[in-house]
């Protein structure tokens, strides 16, 4: 009992300090992780094996970590090294692509293709945001897309705010469609043994269906704003070619990105795990740009990776002490054997929580909970997994702090003189989040129950 109380206290304090932003979040999660290992697992439980299981270092020498013909579940206990290695590799690849000018080139090419007309541009950028976020982290997608949006909106005499908001929503929605689109999905996929194709066939279809409604919503909501946009033929619009820093680096980054997409889509068939794919694309990027390798490595967001390490340890501690089973029993107690109620509770609680707190710790905490729920209620674990993924990925769009893409998009708009406070943001984004959550819930009810 004592270890459960202490582990919950460590988790709650960690969450509070992260939200308060008094200290950097990776330092907080690492400190909380160290406390969990020393105080809870070491002193209270006196269990060196629990510490070893939580650190999960043996995973690296397990063949299934690198190659698994049938996708194997890494298990939810302890540090999920597959997630960390995959994200590290993708970060290196994305840095390489950004440096070569790929993202800016892509945005400008899309804009040129629709002849800089406001409504087609609006639609194209929404779809671009959705598709790119299926493979690349949404922060990078919004970073480049929002910057180009501001630039083009200024030339067209439009406010970039509607476009940026729509892009943010589509980035979060696109992220929910695949295993590598959003960190919660990578954690769910690697912990529970789902493949890229599994996500695509389940959350991917829900996201695609929702996209139609989302596009309709944003078009109706902002149709008046977009009508004002005038294409001035006298204006020199930025040329896509101007975005390319080096033709060689650009070509190489395109090839590596294409390889990453193919490897991810086919990884259930090839047997290459996401950890291997991450290592391959990261290594290829570094080999292809040996001169810039040091710069690329320096730009990797190590703080986020360290945050994940600390977080996994804390969640591992909660699992070892049995706290997460208690939460699962509590949810089971509320929902009974009513699968509809259980799906609705997991979906909406995940969405509401993700709208206010980081969805990564929430998803990491919930994985052992849904595993336990599936074991005790007999519900299909995959259905609970898709529900958790939809709730955490899409729910974050509701508020400006719900997801990283929201913060970055709002910040880029503000830096360019377009203030988007809570009121302005939620007025547009809350209704569309609720609509999308309802669509997701209906899809899950109809397809799986």
């Amino acid at each position: 009992m004592l270890q459960q109380v202490i582990s919950v206290a460590i988790f709650v304090i960690m969450f509070g300090v992260i939200i308060s932003e008094k200290f950097e979040r990776h330092l907080v999660s690492l400190a909380a992780g160290a406390l969990m290992l020393i105080v809870v697992l070491g002193i209270c439980m006196r269990s060196p094996s629990a510490i070893w299981d939580t650190l999960n270092l043996a995973e690296f020498v397990t063949p299934s970590f690198w190659y698994a013909k049938v996708e194997s579940a890494g298990g939810s206990a302890g540090i999920n090294w597959s997630t960390i290695v995959f994200i590290l590799g993708m970060m290196i690849m994305v840095e390489g692509m950004g440096k070569a000018g790929f993202f800016r080139w892509l945005c400008l090419t899309m804009a040129k293709a629709v002849r800089y007309k406001a409504m087609p541009l609006f639609l194209t950028f929404m779809v671009t945001s959705f598709v790119l976020s299926m493979f690349i982290d949404s922060i990078t997608v919004i970073l480049f897309l929002a910057a180009v949006t501001v630039e083009l909106a200024q030339l067209l005499g439009l406010s970039p705010v509607p476009m940026i908001l729509a892009e943010i929503f589509c980035a979060n929605l696109g992220g929910s469609a695949t295993m590598c689109g959003d960190p919660p999905n990578i954690i769910i996929g690697t912990a529970l043994g789902y493949s890229f194709a599994d996500f695509l066939k389940n959350t991917g279809l829900i996201a695609l269906l929702s996209l139609g409604f989302v596009i309709l919503y944003f078009c109706l909501r902002f149709r008046k704003n977009l009508k004002n946009g005038q294409v001035d033929v006298a204006i020199a619009y930025p040329k896509p070619a101007s975005a390319i820093q080096s033709k060689k680096a650009f070509g190489v980054s395109c090839v590596i990105f294409a390889c990453a997409v193919v490897l991810l889509v086919t990884h259930a068939m090839t047997g290459l795990t996401v950890a291997t794919i991450g290592t391959l694309v990261g290594a290829l990027t570094l080999l292809a740009s040996v001169r810039d390798a040091k710069t690329l490595l320096k730009k990797v967001d190590y703080k986020t990776l360290l945050f994940f390490v600390g977080l996994f340890v804390v969640v591992g501690g909660l699992e070892q002490t049995g706290v997460l089973s208690v939460i699962a029993d509590f949810i089971h107690g509320i929902c009974g054997s009513h699968s509809y109620v259980m799906i609705a509770v997991i979906l909406w609680v995940s969405a509401i929580a993700s709208a206010f707190v980081d969805n990564i710790p929430f998803a990491a905490t919930m994985i052992p909970v849904i595993e336990s729920l599936a074991a005790t209620t007999g519900m299909d674990l995959s259905v609970l997994s898709w529900t958790l993924a939809c709730g955490t990925d899409i729910g974050g769009s509701a508020t400006p702090i719900g997801a990283s893409a929201n913060v970055v998009g709002v910040s880029i708009a503000a830096q360019n003189g377009h203030m988007i406070g809570w009121g302005r943001y939620c007025k547009t984004m809350l209704p569309v989040t609720i609509i999308t959550m309802l669509i997701s819930m209906l899809c899950i009810f109809v397809r799986y129950l």
């Binding site: 939200i19 308060s20 932003e21 922060i139 967001d301 400006p400 702090i401 990283s404 929201n406 913060v407 970055v408 709002v410 910040s411 880029i412 503000a414 830096q415 003189g417 377009h418 203030m419 988007i420 406070g421 809570w422």
Partner: protein, 198 residues
């Protein structure tokens, strides 16, 4: 006075800091940057003045804001950064001015022509001034003073290394209740004069 003069005034609510700044600006015939800063930013960035006013000199709300890789959704922080940039540009452009609040004693600390002062006051005197200016009861005035000072302190301490009102961060700390608005302005002016002669 010859050459560039920048006077940064920090103040407790109700201490008369703004009046002191106005008086100094009038006597030296230089700009007073207070609301002017918001009007200038409003026209430069094409943001409505009222929208900027909402976030002016306010700390970001911890549980309603988040920072990701150096990007933040806190509009208060964006406005503060715009204001700091504006102040630095003005100072670099050789302008003389008096600035009230906005962490100016910290933002402009690298400009030798900058003199900083913090204006405090006795609780009773400040309360009387607030009651008169805002037509409030004593209780309401005290509540408002407490709230405003807490906001200014949180705003200042978020962006600056030194603490709000700490004498080590200012060239002068003056209790306006002791010598009045005029007296405080004279003390600052004579300090600036001596500093220039040195």
């Amino acid at each position: 006075m010859e050459g560039q003069v920048i006077i940064a005034i920090g103040r407790e609510f109700g201490s008369g800091g703004h009046e002191i700044a106005e008086l100094i600006a009038t006597k030296l015939e230089i700009f007073l940057i207070d609301d002017k800063l918001l009007y200038d930013l409003s026209s430069e960035k094409k943001i409505p003045y009222e929208e900027l006013k909402k976030y002016d000199e306010r700390p970001k709300v911890p549980f309603l804001s988040r920072t990701v890789s150096g990007y933040t959704n806190a509009m208060e922080e964006h406005l503060a950064k715009m204001q700091f940039e504006y102040l630095r540009k003005m100072a670099e452009g050789g302008e003389s001015f008096v600035i009230v609040g906005r962490c100016a004693e910290y933002v402009l600390k690298d400009f030798p022509c900058m003199t900083s002062a913090f204006i405090s006051g006795n609780k009773e005197t400040k309360c009387e001034r607030v009651m008169k200016k805002y037509k409030l009861s004593a209780d309401e005035a005290k509540k408002l003073m407490k709230k405003k000072d807490a906001t200014r302190k949180a705003y200042h301490n978020y962006y600056c290394e030194g603490k709000w009102g700490d004498s080590r961060n200012y060239d002068l700390c003056i209790n306006s209740s002791q010598i009045g608005v005029e007296g405080a302005a004279d003390v600052i002016l004579s300090f600036v004069e001596r500093k220039q002669k040195k």
